[in-house]
Symmetry: C2
Subunit: 460 residues, 2 copies
């Protein structure tokens, strides 16, 4: 098969689509650290998590052992609406760069949510429905996750309540309308609908909100309304599990043509797309069957891996969620408003944090304007206007391909193109107008944030 001409786009047939998610935790010797109860400092078990999350999702969250977890038929049917996603051979980019490298990308943007988020949204909505729940609540910043969840809930006839950070709600009215098209209720956060919202508005009238505040409101509504649960679009083990459909599809498609990547690159905010993309490859690496160079790419303005501490921290700035052990800038860290490229989360998936800590992957931080340069270069030859998030991966893929041009190496590069940038044109406009800067947090700023890390037994 290896000599066959590789098409521009490799689509699996429906029969070849994954029937199981790949749980990379099964291959890890050092398992990811458990979530801790912020009050007691004790690991949280099934019963502790039930008030907030759906039962089956908690089981998946806590399952460190089962390598392959079946994808229910209903979810597989939904996946067929927008999957398999294409694995694209970037012939045009290769030619433009005049590189001997072979570049592939797995493109997750061909669905209305515009990103990979839908892969986990449908799974989380499905298990909520199975449990007989009425609905789910969540928060959204830029709106991709909220859109994905709205789509999944509309399909299953589930109520969907989204708290959207107020400044996004006002600046991205189109995202809001997409969610409304899917029947979701979208509330700007902070709102008067929750106690925590009322409290924040009383203390900070006129605030434009934050993701942490929106999480707090979503959790309050979920826990105080019977038949509702809270769902989250990244960071959690379960989300990486669902996103493994990206990696399993990519690996199946490459295997069909006998292609083995040397380098695998993904952007990393909370880590769900990168974790999903690398899962089956990382499994082989952890089992010692094959080696891959795996690179996480993050913004220099929010450098969790490259400048963060590996410590227990809150997942939310509101400090109401369980503690997770991760590379973190501190839950009080807020990226500069100048930062337009997404990936704003202060922490990182515990799975990826452990793998990074154990040396199985590396990380690079890139400057914002360099990211948009790569985005534009890519758009012009590959015809896809990429999301700023995804463009972090494009940046490093191009850098690696240019290195190959210097050395003459014919490396095979695989990267994750998580989504499209159609709702991010304000950021592109800033870039075109030369109004985009490259903010980098100072050591002092980070030290201040680190000083507020929670006290946990056994942690300095």
């Amino acid at each position: 098969m290896a000599t066959e001409k590789i098409p521009y786009k490799i689509y699996l047939s429906e029969d070849e689509m994954p029937r199981t998610w790949y749980n990379v935790r099964a291959d890890m010797k050092n398992k990811p650290a458990p979530l801790l109860n912020p009050g007691t400092g004790e690991p949280m078990g099934f019963d502790d998590l039930r008030p907030v999350f759906c039962d089956e999702l908690i089981r998946q969250e806590l399952d460190n052992d089962t390598r392959e977890i079946p994808i229910p038929q209903e979810i597989r049917d939904f996946y067929k609406m927008y999957r398999p996603s294409p694995l694209v051979r970037a012939y045009c980019l290769e030619e433009k760069l005049q590189t001997p490298a072979k570049i592939y990308y797995k493109f997750e943007g061909n669905n209305t949510s515009g990103s990979h988020k839908l892969n986990s949204a449908i799974a989380q909505a499905y298990y909520a429905k199975q449990q007989g729940l009425k609905g789910v609540t969540t928060e959204t910043g830029a709106g991709q996750w909220g859109t994905a969840l709205s789509m999944a809930c509309a399909y299953l006839g589930l109520d969907c309540k989204v708290f959207m950070v107020k400044c996004s709600y006002e600046q991205k009215p189109f995202r809001r309308e997409v969610m409304r098209t899917y029947g979701a209720s979208v509330t700007p956060s902070p709102s008067m609908e929750t106690q925590v919202g009322q409290k924040i508005l009383a203390e900070h009238p006129g605030t434009t909100g934050s993701l942490g505040c929106a999480i707090s409101e979503a959790v309050e509504v979920a826990t105080s309304n019977p038949g509702y649960r809270y769902v989250l679009g990244s960071v959690l083990n379960q989300v990486l599990l669902h996103q493994s459909v990206i990696g399993v599809e990519a690996k199946t498609a490459l295997d069909k043509y006998g292609v083995v990547p040397d380098v695998i690159i993904g952007c990393a905010g909370g880590g769900s797309n990168l974790g999903g993309l690398i899962s089956p490859f990382m499994g082989e690496k952890l089992r010692g069957e094959r080696d891959y160079q795996i690179i996480a790419v993050e913004p220099k303005s929010c450098p969790s891996f490259t400048r963060g501490k590996y410590a227990y921290d809150f997942c939310d700035t509101g400090m109401i969620c369980p503690l997770a052990k991760m590379y973190t800038l501190g839950s009080s860290f807020i990226p500069s408003p100048d930062h337009a490229g997404g990936l704003r989360f202060h922490g990182m998936s515990t799975i990826l944090s452990q793998l990074y800590h154990d040396g199985y992957m590396e990380a690079r931080a890139v400057e914002q304007t360099k990211v948009f340069e790569a985005a534009e270069q890519f758009a012009r030859v590959e015809g896809i206007l990429p999301a700023p998030e995804s463009s972090h991966a494009i940046r490093v893929a191009i850098d690696e391909a240019l290195k190959c041009k210097e050395t003459g190496e014919e490396k095979t590069i695989l990267f994750g193109l998580t989504g499209t940038g159609y709702f991010d044109m304000v950021a592109y406009e800033k870039f075109h107008n030369g109004e985009m800067s490259n903010y980098i947090p100072s050591d002092e700023e980070l030290a201040e944030s680190f000083a507020r890390l929670p006290k946990v037994p056994g942690q300095e």
Copy 2:
């Protein structure tokens, strides 16, 4: 093959992609009427059209005889970037409607221009490049065509100058930024850059522009700058020819599974997507090999087929372009500003006009709010947020499927889903807020517009 389970999405392999465009004019006994010189009333030949259009495109425009026209290899390579487009079996919509009908749609929205427009944009840009031209000029309203042309020009390294109707330029800044990402120069029209723009601004200071005015500016720049030509995104015979790639792919995919559509439905503004979709099917119908019911769908607010006159008219409101014989509401007709669903062109492709006149296809006009109802219903089960234009076809496809539910007929319905609505959320918002009305032009209004039709020898 007919018993094989049909997948949700049928993708052709690259080998199965069309090598030729299908020129339906070859099958027409009554050929479409020629373009006339507005000054002399004489048919326009190759030499008359050269100052405005590229040579090879004029040849295609005038070729009524060659049934299959080869697609150059470079264009086929570009098509591989975003084609084949999926032919989708709408299992979820069928189930939602509880219809015995089998519904298929050809989805052209999986590219950054968001629509089928790219199919002709790359062809027109390619021939301009082949001719050694420096660049092309065009107009754009909503921005899909301008975006498509920008993408094609960026790929080929061709200069691209877009005149964007001023009100769109201001209301749709994101479309403008997408075009800028592809390196196009985008000018709000009317502008001070052209004589015609200066004249209009002097007469109507503060005007927000019109498509007709933007066409005039684009033509002026093309004809007054050496190395430039004007290109157009719909209406022309050449554009229908390029768009036949939609129909040829759709037919090849259906043939693979032994499926024969009973009804073929497409929205019609200038007619390029509908003309492209139906080309090979219409060819069979014209040759008497097979019968299909073919339905053009247009807005009740801009009803060229259903209430227009079949007459020679200007293609532009500025009255500078050649005269075309078509179903027209008169070039002075302007749809109500309340109309949000696209398809605003006053006339219709001469090919489709002739076919409609000869009884080979029928037409339906639908109300705007009914169109958005269909759009929302479709989005919720099929996961694609459709363009308002495309939703006209969805409306009638749903209506036909519901008729089958009443009669028990198992008809096979094929419709064209031309694009996505990501840049049309203002219209969706109006719909969600109950602020959308159903304007229908009065007979008096149309009579006034008809009275201004140009005087042409042999035409009443």
